[in-house]
Symmetry: C2
Subunit: 432 residues, 2 copies
């Protein structure tokens, strides 16, 4: 098995590639049956043994990463990409902490709920089970290898990881640590496999093998996710853009409104839960925009406003395109609306159904916003920055889903599981 | 709007077809926003008004159906298909009862659960919401039009229905009843639309419009479902075959074992939860096969056994292919196995992950079977015939899913919904 895993970057013919991916798929499918019935303690031992292996092999991890960095520099990767690619002792220590945290999470598998009697005398409930085999497609950060593998392992799934070509040596070295952890705990090494070729056709194979792969989780830019979604023959848990809104209602508490708007926009600019368009009811716009501008100016945030906004504060004009844009940058679109209806309509039309918040003290406005805004997370009087698996108490997240099917919002261990029905009887048969 | 709905069977150019399907999609998407916020009482009024309309229009329904039957006979449809196609006063009365039952079910939409505080002070919960727009593709039975529409309506979704071409007049007449019900309760008529062309390309359009359709539910034969799954660009809740097993364990109660095996196979032959392969531990095979054969013979069930089975009772030989076959007929495959492990391996290898039952009085065998058999329904000491939305207490079902993503097993109202996160705060911002 290990020889297959270490093919690494060899040039393959397309037949060889299909054979190779099929082998990975078959091995993953076989391993998933073992994983599904593995005990909690065994999975935790594998996670902690992986943590130990990561520490023990730190030198070789750094060397493999250095080779990736050298190749990346030679290829002219940007400084930002090189930074994402780099492993440091601090980042390795963070991986170890992450593995320990996942080991400490409760095991969702096997949990039985709603075990109720029916008039026929049978008792029906649901048992939580793994999905089976998960394919993860991601870009340059090698720590995703450990994060994704640990969540799949804890949730009783087998996983096939396909990282970015620029991180292939780092990812292969990390895979060795995980396989050492699996071996040490008696779990199949093939439960976690890293695709060892940079050939792009491998991605196409991975997402078109429904017989071996149950779900694909792409992690990366919009381009990657759109490509995967368009071609996949396997269900995709996808996270597209986060065009998030804060709406300051006529009945908002002004102090909360300013605090939340500033935090949602400026806590971090490059994250999917950052505020991108601020909506204000007209009287609130008059009252709050000058103070908001002062604070945004101090943080260097460029403001782009509708006509009514421009009548109150000095800023550039927002176009139709701004309403639909996820800036991921210190730029904020601002629109004045007449009332809650207009705010909800704007969010449902231009938003990306990710995370939207209303600031209000009005009971009915809050209740309507929760019900009518069609987003994965809807909030009252809270910063959109809270939309995150850790903040939501999931312990860790594999991503944030903007889909409605299966999992919506931050996806933790439970999002990587399904439920089956269990029926307990005493010999009952169905008469009619 | 109604003129679009009544295009019915006109020959369209492909551009016209795309325009037509796009219009249906846009109308459904717009209606879904209204449906999502509609109140429970309003949805129930629409269901009851539809029931009234079905009764009131009974004559025209029967006339439309007669025209379909005449056309079907002229086309040479089989007697079985003509029977499925036929509406009778009794079948119309059953539709009315079905509508009343769905109106009486609890409304899942808006239900909030797990609303817990986090250390940050925010309170996080989940609210149940509709999926949006559902596409249903089905074959000849026109009562599916009412069943599927009522479940989608109650769960706050808009739906586009594409029935079999042989039922197009019946389905259009039923759609008029539903639209009358929607109109009477102030809901958008376009919440339920029937595709009014028999052009097969309409199906392709319906399953490749992710911008307008959130999920596809195909209901029909394996061929239909396989075709839809292969081409869809939209998630599919699918039900492939039901190759169900009963395993009689060494510790089975013999009386329960015989009763369950006979019921699971002979209650009805053509249903997906019918028993197809009976597995027996060797000592049980010796003890029970003669009595089982006597009862199956009396019911006219053909038995196909493994070599060990043939050494005990007189029957034809089962081939490898029999283990993988869903007969949907009075034929039963029988295999003798050495122990529980062999039974589980056989089921996971040859089964279709639908419904499988163990007969045993042994605690540990039952517990292992529940955990290790990878099927949508796993049972102890109960007939596989119970795998059904009504028996499970779902009230009604849109189908039985053999997928693991989103919904598994019988899919009722909840399977047509998703959950969004709701966050209640008091002005909290995220510091780090």
């Amino acid at each position: 098995m290990r020889s297959v895993i270490l093919v690494q970057n060899r040039i393959m013919t397309s037949t060889t590639l299909i054979d190779y991916m099929t082998t990975l798929g078959q091995q993953a499918r076989a391993a998933s049956a073992q994983m599904a019935k593995s005990e909690t303690a065994q999975k935790n031992r594998a996670l902690l043994a992986t943590a130990a292996a990561v520490l023990e092999m730190q030198e070789s991890l750094l060397a493999a990463n250095q080779a990736d960095l050298d190749a990346g520099r030679a290829k002219g990767l940007s400084a930002a990409l090189l930074d994402r690619l780099e492993l440091t002792p601090a980042r390795i220590a963070a991986m170890v902490v992450g593995l320990e945290q996942v080991a400490a999470l409760p095991d969702p598998i096997g949990s039985i709920s709603e075990l109720d009697y029916r008039p026929s005398g049978i008792q029906i409930g649901k048992m939580r089970v793994p999905l089976g085999v998960i394919g993860i497609i991601y870009e340059s950060r090698p720590n995703v290898t450990i994060e994704a593998a640990s969540l799949c392992l804890k949730s009783g799934n087998a996983v096939i990881l396909r990282g970015g070509s620029e991180a292939i040596r780092s990812n292969a070295a990390l895979a060795l640590c995980i396989q050492q952890g699996l071996r040490a705990s008696g779990l199949p090494e093939t439960a976690v496999q890293v695709v060892a070729t940079t050939d792009r056709a491998a991605v196409h194979q991975l997402i078109t093998m429904p017989e071996y792969v149950d779900v694909i989780v792409p992690r990366g830019g919009k381009g990657l996710i759109a490509r995967v979604s368009a071609d996949a023959r396997v269900p995709v848990i996808k996270h597209l853009d986060g065009n998030c809104h804060v709406y300051i209602d006529v009945n908002a508490d002004p102090e909360k409104a300013v605090r939340i708007a500033i935090n949602a926009k400026t806590r971090r600019y490059g994250v999917c839960n950052a505020l991108e368009t601020l909506l204000l009811e007209a009287t609130q716009a008059n009252a709050l925009l000058p103070e908001l501008k002062r604070q945004f100016d101090a943080k260097g945030v460029e403001l782009r406003g509708c006509e009514q906004t421009q009548a109150i504060i000095d800023c550039s004009a927002a176009t139709q395109e701004d309403w639909a844009t996820e800036y991921l940058a210190p730029i904020l679109a601002i629109k004045v609306v007449a009332n809650l209806d207009q705010a909800i309509d704007h969010i449902n039309m231009y938003g990306s159904h990710h995370t939207d918040s209303i600031v209000t003290e009005n009971y009915s406005s809050g209740r309507r916003f929760l019900r009518e805004v069609d987003s994965a997370s809807v909030m009252i009087n809270a910063s959109t920055a809270f939309a995150d698996g850790f903040e939501y108490g999931l312990g860790a997240e594999i991503g944030i889903s903007t889909d409605k099917i299966h999992a919506r919002g931050p996806v933790g261990l439970v999002g990587l599981t399904s439920q089956k029905y269990i029926v307990l009887g005493d010999g009952q048969i169905r008469e009619s």
